[in-house]
């Protein structure tokens, strides 16, 4: 069964493009605008991975805090979508540097399963 992925991106067209690209690869994918919406989704659904464009420093992001506060075995892998400068504050999270192409996206997702 294809893994479920949650895409958290405020930019509507980028979110839509990422979701489309993942669906093309047979991922089951939901897209939401904000980390708060993402946390609500995480409470109700199980995801294998969250692709997250954080608007706050990573460790202050509600999604990251939610994931850290729960059993790691039950929680999704977090992949950040960010500017080049961001990995400095990205901790140990894998990062897709914007703008990324389809191959980079698929390669990063493949590591999660």
């Amino acid at each position: 069964m294809s893994p479920n992925v949650l895409v958290v991106e405020e930019h509507a067209d980028l979110r839509s493009a990422v979701v489309s690209a993942l669906k093309r690869e047979h991922y089951v994918c939901d897209g939401v605008r904000s980390s708060d919406e993402a946390v609500a989704m995480l409470r109700d659904h199980h995801y294998a991975a969250v692709l997250l464009a954080p608007l706050l420093p990573v460790n202050e992001d509600p999604v990251v805090r939610y994931v850290l506060a729960h059993d790691p075995a039950e929680m999704p892998t977090v992949i950040l979508m960010a500017d080049p400068g961001a990995p400095e504050s990205a901790g140990n999270y894998a990062t897709l540097v914007k703008p990324f192409n389809r191959e980079q996206l698929i390669a990063e997702m493949a590591k999660t399963h």
């Binding site: 405020e10 839509s16 690209a21 703008p99």
Partner: protein, 516 residues
């Protein structure tokens, strides 16, 4: 910087010398204070001073070394003036060299016995030199701030470009098995490309306003017409975000003597900004009103609002940039900075109000109403309706050296039913134009072999005005357009060329066989 101390420290340990010197300087309106030792003076240097007057006997070797140690730590702009009263008081004193001090600061030697006028003159010169140093310091600080602003701006610009580019990149890779792009992805690419084009245009316009290069082409216009055009432009964006657009216009014309292109830019920017920051299900309202003191355009939304501490700086380019990183919807403030500049060019005002974060915003532009004389002299120009008629089939030649641009233009124009040929450099293009004699030619200006200007001149010489010549160029400043028209072009389009612009031109230039 306000700290420009002109205080002079006087170090003269013998008798009442120091007090006497201070009194003489005070008569010449020079601020001076007595300092007992070089060590005391060195501590005062931290607060900033205008200079030091010191007697030779107050500078034994250890004091001189102490002073040098402080002087070497001065910032690069600073050379604290040091006036040394040398020679006497005792005749057996050997002349000393102050070379080590000279190497580190601005030293003036005044021989004793000192004439008051000589001392005052030396002090005044020293203080003037110090003033110049403060000027340089302030200039350096300003330049540093500019560099900091520029770096901040570039960081935000990079961020602003990444999301649209990322969306375009992914959508462009979503071709199906027969290499076709689904409509939704094609629309996404077009939408984001237009967004990037607008961003670049706004940036260029902002720099032109700053350089005083924008000249308004005023005419009497009805604000309702311009507003309707802006609404038409913004509506697809609002629909996509499920934001409802509302208008509130009076039944009578609201006439202003303004540049319609710039007013459209003002209104479109305000609407675009409001839609951008209004979440799904929200509302954006544009109201136009005529009052005694001007024509009012109010754009209100029930969107994210503005924090009270940010509202004053909302029209400042860099003040917005400060908060922009991290926001996917961008917000460098280019649009609002441009709005303010364009409104001011028209002699108007623009204000922003918000009750706080989450409480929506209200932007109000006030433009001067057209005077009765202006209304009489300048009959109102009706807005040009966008091209709706399908232009008849034309023969078109594209002369463009960029393969992608040429291929896309050819594809689009052929889809519209035109007969299209293309050339990739100036020489090939000229030859094709002379042999094909097309209805219209789209000619890039920066071509290899022979540039677009030369192509146009040759075409005009050999074919007269039989061909509609359109310059397509990445340079869209008024001077660039003027040069193109001088070379013989009929029109100038700034890249990226929009097929709708080309259609509008085709409609304005009827086919040769139907021309009067």
């Amino acid at each position: 910087m306000s700290d420009r101390s002109d205080l002079l420290l006087v170090i003269a340990p013998i008798g009442r010398d120091a007090v006497t010197i201070c009194e003489q300087l005070a008569r010449a309106r020079i601020r001076a204070e007595v300092c007992k030792t070089v060590g005391d003076a060195c501590e005062r240097l931290q607060d900033g001073i205008g200079g030091i007057v010191i007697t030779e006997e107050a500078l034994p070797p250890d004091a001189m070394n102490e002073l040098i140690a402080v002087l070497v730590k001065q910032p690069p702009w600073s050379e604290i003036p040091l006036i040394i009263l040398s020679g006497a008081p005792s005749l057996d004193m050997k002349p000393r060299s102050f070379e080590s001090l000279r190497r580190r600061t601005n030293v003036t030697l005044v021989d004793r016995p000192v004439r008051v006028n000589s001392l005052i003159s030396a002090v005044q010169s020293a203080l003037r030199a110090r003033e110049r140093q403060y000027d340089i310091r302030d200039l350096m600080a300003q330049l540093e701030e500019r560099i900091h602003e520029r770096d901040r701006f570039l960081a935000v610009l990079g961020h602003e470009l990444r999301n649209p580019l990322g969306a375009i990149l992914l959508a462009a890779q979503m071709r199906d098995d027969d290499e076709r792009l689904a409509e939704e992805h094609a629309q996404l690419i077009e939408r984001q490309s237009r967004h990037l084009t607008r961003l670049v245009n706004d940036l260029l316009d902002l720099s032109r306003v700053a350089a005083g290069k924008i000249v308004l082409k005023r005419q009497v216009i009805d604000l309702r017409d311009v507003a309707a055009q802006s609404i038409a432009v913004i509506k697809p964006m609002a629909d996509k975000q499920h934001v409802q657009l509302r208008t509130d216009y009076p039944h009578h014309a609201v006439l202003v003597n303004a540049d319609p292109v710039r007013v459209d830019q003002i209104v479109t920017n305000l609407l675009s900004n409001a839609v951008k920051y209004t979440p799904e299900g929200g509302h954006v309202t544009m109201a136009i009103e005529e009052q005694q003191d001007g024509a009012f355009v109010e754009v209100t939304d029930d969107g994210v609002g503005v924090a009270p501490e940010r509202i004053d700086g909302i029209f400042e380019l860099f003040a917005q940039a400060e908060n922009a990183i991290g926001r996917a919807q961008g917000g460098m403030g280019i649009g609002l900075a441009l709005v303010r500049n364009l409104v001011q060019l028209h002699g108007g005002t623009v204000n922003a109000k918000s009750d706080g974060v989450g409480k929506g915003s209200e932007f109000t532009v006030v433009l001067p109403l057209a005077t009765p004389e202006e209304r009489a002299e300048s009959p109102r120009v009706e807005p040009v309706a966008p091209a709706t008629m399908q232009p008849s089939r034309r023969s078109i030649v594209i002369v463009e050296d960029n393969n992608d641009v040429r291929d896309l233009l050819r594809l689009k124009l052929r889809r519209l039913g035109h007969e299209v040929k293309d050339a990739r450099d100036g020489i090939e293009g000229l030859s094709m134009l002379l042999s094909e004699r097309p209805d219209l030619a789209l000619v890039d200006l920066g071509l290899p072999g022979m540039d677009g200007f030369a192509v146009a001149r040759q075409v005009r010489q050999q074919l007269g005005h039989d061909v509609v010549l359109v310059a397509v160029s990445g340079f869209g400043q008024p001077d660039d357009k003027r040069r193109a028209l001088d070379a013989g072009f009929d029109e100038h389009i700034t890249k990226p060329a929009d097929v709708h612009d080309i259609e509008n031109i085709l409609q304005r230039f009827p086919p040769r066989n139907t021309a009067a």
